[in-house]
């Protein structure tokens, strides 16, 4: 089924954003059981038989056109959201090739890549782009290669150089980030940039995750889901703009929380890049509000149990403290105490009537 894009959506100001019923049912719900704690939830990506957001390398959904416009707006206001250190030059071209090849193969109705040696032509029909360029010659593109292609993709991306037994975050583009700053983190090691996360270091999560990620092979991408909560469908929750979005947390009430509070899920993907041997992290944010998610009975029950029993340090780290009581009280109405099936599947074909 062809995706019907919603180019008029906005992620700031008047927040014109909504999910279709199909988008809710394919939402990458992050809780596999009725409780949540940090752990290693890495697994192979794009396995045969995968569905929904996991079916292809880089998922393009109904928000694609609007999210690309939002990214352009963020970059116009703050060009520093895209930073790539000079030694990641080859990784930039690797990223461009990977995303172009994947989009053209997975969505031939929307994207076409034609190659004659190093002379490439890229067509992006949803954004109305047609670009002929020479692969390897950045002067033939309107932006540097990494920025050029990630302006046409949903979600943030970071580039990791692998050396000295760790990963260094040596580039990226961040306009849909959950309260972290690329400008602050660039050049850090894996353990340094994860420094603020509570509890997980002591559990050895980052040591094991690093070992796994350093062994991700070309052609064998991996993924994991991460989550937080965001007030309003705002993609750009950056530390740089905290004064703009931070106060939103004080605006939640029992009356508006269903519509205004969004579960923000990051589909994180990890790709070994072939020419540079760098590791590309895709950090794709999906937003759905409580009103929509609780139309799936299993997800409503599970959200209540997960949020009610969340470790206090996790509540604090994810910025939920201020409205945790309102959240749990609201979700209680969707929990009848019935058992839930293991895994994230919605277990229904249609949403419950509102």
């Amino acid at each position: 089924m062809a995706t019907a894009f919603k180019p008029d959506e906005t992620f700031r100001g008047d927040f014109r954003y909504s999910n279709s019923a199909a988008a809710v049912l394919r939402f990458p719900f992050p809780f596999v059981e009725d409780r949540y704690m940090y752990g290693i939830n890495l697994e192979p990506h794009t396995r045969p038989g995968s569905s929904g957001a996991f079916a292809v390398a880089f998922d393009v959904d109904e928000h694609y056109v609007a999210e690309c416009a939002e990214r352009a707006l963020s970059l116009a206001q703050d060009p520093g959201r895209c930073l790539v250190l000079p030694h990641m030059h080859e990784a930039e071209w690797d990223t461009l090739e990977l995303i172009m090849e994947s989009l053209a193969a997975d969505y031939p109705e929307h994207f076409t890549l034609e190659r004659e040696g190093l002379d490439w032509t890229w067509t992006n029909r949803p954004l109305g782009l047609h670009q002929t360029f020479r692969f390897g010659d950045a002067g033939t593109l309107p932006y540097p290669p990494f920025e050029y292609i990630t302006r046409q993709a949903q979600g943030d991306f970071t580039l990791q150089d692998q050396r000295d037994g760790t990963l260094y975050i040596d580039g990226g583009i961040t306009t849909t980030q959950a309260d972290w700053s690329l400008a602050f983190d660039v050049g850090m090691t894996f353990h340094e940039w994860h420094g603020p996360v509570p509890l997980a270091h002591q559990a050895g999560v980052f040591d094991r995750a690093l070992q796994y990620l350093m062994r991700v092979r070309y052609g064998h991408p991996a993924r994991r889901l991460n989550w937080t909560l965001t007030v309003n469908p705002r993609l750009d929750t950056s530390p740089e703009n905290y004064p703009i979005w931070g106060p939103d947390r004080a605006s939640l009430t029992p009356e508006n929380i269903a519509d205004r509070l969004f579960l923000r899920v990051e589909l994180q993907t990890f790709y070994r890049l072939p020419r540079s041997n760098a590791l590309l992290f895709g950090i794709r944010a999906y937003l759905a509000n409580l009103a929509d998610l609780t139309r799936v009975p299993k997800w409503g029950r599970r959200l209540h149990r997960v949020m009610r029993d969340l470790h206090p340090e996790v509540v604090g780290y994810k910025g939920i403290t201020r409205y945790h009581d309102v959240l749990v009280n609201h979700l209680a109405q969707f929990d009848d105490g019935a058992p839930t099936s293991p895994g994230i599947a919605p277990d229904v074909d249609a949403l419950r009537e509102m």
Binding site: G39, I40, N41, L42, E43, P44, T46, R47, A57, H87, E90, D94, E97, L98, E101, S102, A105, R115, G117, D161, Q162, R163, D164, G165, D207, R208, A209, Q211, Y212, R215, R217, Y218, G219, H220, P221, A222, Y271, P274, R275, S276, N277
Partner: protein, 316 residues
């Protein structure tokens, strides 16, 4: 696309470049583009086994990897081999097709090295050829020392063909290169890359350590240890014996036997596939079990770990 892990390659040419050294030029069998690869990457070829046993899987470094022109390998005919190099030298003909993995790189150049010191022994020249091409293009500082037997020195000198101003030396004879003096003379920030006989690479690593080089500045070729010796897994509760082939994981063998067992990362990190062990000598390769848990011998992570004993008894 990206998760196609097996390449079907056609032999475009297979000239003998010297006695016992054959260059293989491989292109995609269907004429499509091949995945690019960083210098230092290798591919693993599937080669028929002489005795009609399971096919051999031999890894060879990519001397050149161009998506359109194809891959170049150089294969030495070795008498001690299990037959893989004999097959390549004696039977493989232009036009034949051969199966290979996509490229994998465990021998990457370091992005922050001030200078790259390359030291190869014999056929260990192959990754160095890829490194030299890359370092030349990047205009990076490098120096290459090739150690060869006296009668092969000319062959390697011809393969290396230094450009003017480059320090590329072929040393005839194992003792013709003074490793300690060479390492001692390097500027701070140099990284050394070695490929050749294990004893040579060990010696260079030892000399570097003695001279106070950080371990992170010493690199050696590595094809990884994905597989291992075949063994038998006895599933005590199911009452079946499962044969685990050398190129198969214990988890894959259990799944192939129709036993449904949970797994997630399949890389030894998450802990989901943990299985109870009751007998045998496991070779733990995971990052999940602690030293104490390994010592207790009660569990194994079948996605990566194997067996040193002929049989491993699992309580499933």
């Amino acid at each position: 696309m990206m998760d196609d892990r097996t390449l079907s390659l056609r032999v475009a040419a297979a000239p003998l470049v010297a006695t016992g050294l054959r260059r293989l030029h491989l292109v995609a069998a269907d004429g499509s583009r091949l995945p690019p690869a960083a210098p230092g990457a290798h591919i693993t070829l599937t080669l028929p086994s002489p005795a009609g046993a399971r096919p051999l899987r031999n890894s060879y470094t990519l001397v050149e990897a161009d998506p359109e022109r194809g891959y170049q390998l150089i294969v030495r005919r070795t008498d001690r081999s299990r037959g893989g190099s004999h097959h390549i030298h004696d039977r493989l003909q232009p036009g034949d097709t051969i199966e290979a993995t996509v490229p994998h790189n465990l021998f990457a150049l370091h992005s922050q090295a001030r200078k790259h010191l390359l030291i190869a022994g014999g056929i260990g020249i192959t990754p160095m050829l890829a490194f030299v091409a890359h370092l030349r293009e990047a205009r990076a500082a490098f120096e290459l020392h090739q150690i060869a037997s006296a009668d092969e020195a000319g062959v390697f000198a011809a393969l290396l063909a230094p450009h003017p101003g480059e320090r590329i030396q072929v040393h005839a004879g194992r003792d013709a290169c003074d490793i300690a003096a060479l390492l001692a003379a390097q500027p701070l920030g140099t990284h050394v890359y070695t490929c050749g006989p294990g004893a040579m690479m060990d010696r260079i690593a030892a000399v570097a350590a003695e001279l106070g080089w950080p371990a992170s500045h010493v690199h050696r070729e590595d094809f990884g240890a994905a597989g291992g010796e075949p063994f038998t897994a006895r599933l005590a509760r199911s009452g079946i014996d499962v044969a685990v082939a050398g190129d198969q994981t214990l988890l894959e063998a259990i799944e192939a036997a129709g036993i449904d067992t949970p797994s997630l990362c399949r890389g030894g990190a998450c802990g989901v596939c943990i299985l109870p062990l009751s007998e045998g000598d496991p070779e733990h390769r995971d990052h999940f079990l602690s030293e104490a848990e390994r010592a207790s011998g009660c569990h194994i992570m079948p996605c990566v770990s194997r067996s040193r004993s002929a049989t491993l008894v699992l309580d499933i």
